[in-house]
Symmetry: C2
Subunit: 333 residues, 2 copies
C-alpha cells in the first residue's frame, strides 16, 4: 500500500478499528458517558439534523480525559506507580494530572513560562508537579527528558500515541451508538488525536459515515499536510481556538490519510459566531476549539440538506473573563 510521499508510518503498526471496543470497555465507569444534545435553532440554521456530543461535560471539561485515562490504563502496573509526564499547557495536561490523582500516582508537567496563570492553576489544582521552562519546543522537550530520566515517569504524548487516540475515539463510539445512522461526523483537528480516534470508531461501527475534521483557517497546517501528503509544522498559528495550535504527529497523520478524513477550514469570525450561538441558544459553555466544527457545519459545504450530522463539542474550558465577542476579547489573536 502506497499512500504517497509523506507516508512514513508502517501500516502494519497503525492501531486498527478492532481495538476501539477494548478502549471503550477499559474506560467504562471511569469517564462520563456524556449526553447527546439537539437544537431546533441550530438545525434550522444548518438545514441539517445535528447531534452534539457534549464532551464539555467530560471530566476536566474536555474529551482529553478519555485519551489520558486509556493511556494510563494501558501501562504496566509498575510503570503506573512511577507516574506520568507530559509537556502541555492545555487540556491534556489537566486530564493527565487528574487521571494520575485518581490512581494516586505522580504527574509531572513541563510548562512554558508563558502559560496563562489560569491553566497553571488548573493543572496544579489536580495535584501535578509543574516544571517551568523557556517557551520553545526545544526547552520543553529537554525539560521533559530531564524529568523522565530523573523520575522514571512515562511520557504520555497529547496525541501521537495509539492508546491516547483510541481513548479519544470512544467519544465518537458513544455518539454513534446513541445517534445512529449519521451521514457525517465533524470534529476539530489540532494534533489530530480526536480526529484519528474518530476515524477508527467510524471504521469500526459505521464505515459509511464521512469523517470531517474542521480546522481554523489561521492554523491550517493539517489541511495543507493532508492535501500535500507531507506533515507541515504549525508555524505562527493565529486563532482563538487555542486547543488547535499544534501540527499533526506522524501517527495521527498516517491515520487521517488512511481513513481519508477530509479537512475543512473556517474563518475566525465564523468560529466566534458559532461559539456565541452555542452559548446563547444551547446554553452550553464551550471553548473556541469546540466551536470550530459547529462553524464548519453552519458555514455550509460540509453536510447536504437534511443529513444527520454528528458534532463533537470537544471541551468547555473557556476563559470567562475574556469572551471573544467582547471588546478586548482578542478575536483573531
Amino acid at each position: 500500500m502506497n499512500d504517497g510521499p509523506g507516508y512514513t508510518w508502517p501500516v502494519q503498526e497503525l492501531p486498527g478499528p478492532e481495538l476501539i471496543a477494548g478502549a471503550a470497555a477499559r474506560l467504562r465507569g471511569r469517564v462520563h458517558r456524556t449526553p447527546v444534545m439537539r437544537s431546533r435553532t441550530l438545525d434550522a440554521l444548518a438545514g441539517a439534523r445535528l447531534q452534539f456530543k457534549c464532551e464539555n461535560f467530560q471530566r476536566v471539561g474536555a474529551f482529553k480525559y478519555r485519551g489520558a485515562c486509556n493511556a494510563v490504563l494501558s501501562l504496566s502496573a509498575a510503570a503506573v506507580q512511577r507516574g506520568v509526564a507530559t509537556h502541555s499547557s492545555g487540556n491534556h495536561a489537566a486530564a493527565l494530572a487528574c487521571v494520575a490523582r485518581e490512581f494516586g500516582v505522580p504527574a509531572y508537567v513541563v510548562m512554558p513560562s508563558t502559560a496563562p496563570p489560569a491553566k497553571r492553576r488548573a493543572v496544579a489544582g489536580y495535584g501535578a508537579q509543574i516544571f517551568t521552562c523557556e517557551p520553545t519546543l526545544e526547552a520543553r522537550e529537554a525539560g521533559l527528558a530531564e524529568v523522565v530520566a530523573r523520575t522514571g515517569a512515562t511520557f504520555v504524548h497529547p496525541f501521537n500515541d495509539s492508546a491516547v487516540i483510541l481513548g479519544q475515539g470512544t467519544a465518537a463510539l458513544e455518539l454513534l451508538e446513541e445517534a445512529g445512522g449519521l451521514e457525517c461526523l465533524v470534529v476539530p483537528v489540532g494534533g489530530g488525536g480526536l480526529a484519528a480516534g474518530t476515524a477508527l470508531a467510524v471504521a469500526a461501527r459505521s464505515p459509511s459515515t464521512r469523517v470531517v475534521a474542521a480546522e481554523p483557517a489561521g492554523a491550517d497546517d493539517a489541511f495543507r499536510s493532508l492535501r500535500d501528503g507531507v506533515i507541515y509544522p504549525s508555524l505562527n498559528p493565529k486563532t482563538i481556538a487555542d486547543g488547535l495550535l499544534t501540527s499533526l504527529g506522524e501517527l495521527t497523520f498516517a491515520l487521517l490519510r488512511r481513513y481519508r478524513v477530509e479537512v475543512v477550514t473556517v474563518a475566525e469570525e465564523a468560529i466566534v459566531r458559532a461559539m456565541r450561538l452555542v452559548w446563547e441558544r444551547m446554553k452550553l459553555v464551550i471553548e473556541a476549539s469546540a466551536a470550530v466544527p459547529v462553524a464548519a457545519v453552519l458555514e455550509g459545504g460540509v453536510a447536504e440538506a437534511g443529513e444527520r450530522v454528528g458534532i463533537i463539542l470537544s471541551g468547555g474550558n473557556a476563559n470567562l473573563d475574556s469572551l471573544p465577542w467582547k471588546a478586548g476579547g482578542g478575536e483573531g489573536g
Copy 2:
C-alpha cells in the same frame, strides 16, 4: 383553617397536589424532559449531594414554558383560537408567545417602553404582537385590558394562575422521579409560581422533602411577606436576578403559606459567584435568577452535611454582552 391576617384565598379553591399528575400528563411530549446533572466540585463546596434540574435547556430557555403551555392546554378550544395575552418583558412572555405559535394562534404582549431591545426581539421572534406602554403597572394593566377587550384573547398571568403554577410544578415532579429521596429542594422565588408548583409536586410525591425558596436580599418581599403574613409589594428591588423582581400573588402567597415553604435570602455577591461557578465548572449557561438557589445552598444554612439536595436551574437567558463579573456588568444594579 386560619392562616393569619394576610390569608385571603379560600382554601377550598387552592389547587391541590392531586392535580399535578394531570398537568404532567398534559405536557408530555410538549415540554422537554430536561436532564438532571451533578457536579463533584459543587458537591464538595456545598458538603452535600446536589442534583441540578436543567430548565435552562427547556424550550425558550426557561421553566416558564411549562406553565404557559399548561395554561393554554387548560383553555377551551374556542378560547385558544382567540389567542392569549400577557404583560411581561421576561421569560413568561417569550414562553406564551412560543406556545401560541405552536398552536397557530395569536399572542399579544404588552411591554413597557423601557424593556430591553433583546427581550423585545426574543418575544417578537416567537411571532407575538407587541404593544408598547408606559413603564408603570397601571399603564401595563390598562394596555392589557384594552387588548383583551378588543381581541377576545385570554389573559395568562405569569404566576398567579392555577394552571401556570401546576405547569411549573412538573419540573420538580420530574426531578423527584429521577433523583428520589431528596431531603431538600431549592428553587428561586419571584412571583412564586415555581415555588408554589414545587410545593404541590413535593406534597404529591415526597412530602418529607423540605421546599426552600431562595430570594435575592435586594428583592426580599417574599421573605418579609411570609414572615409577616401579609403580601408586601416589591418596591424598588435591586438585584441582577431580573426574573425575581415581582411580588407574590394572592394565590402563590396562599400556597407558599399552606405548604410552609421556607424563604431564604442571599446577597448579590453570592449570586454572582454562584452563577460564575455553574458556568465555569458545570459548563452550563444560567441566568442570574437561576443562580439564586445555588448561592443559597453554597452559602450554607439550607442543607445539612451530606443531604441530598435538588436545585432547579430555572433558566439560561443570560445577556452574553454584559456578564455580571465583568467591569461594567452591573453587579448589584
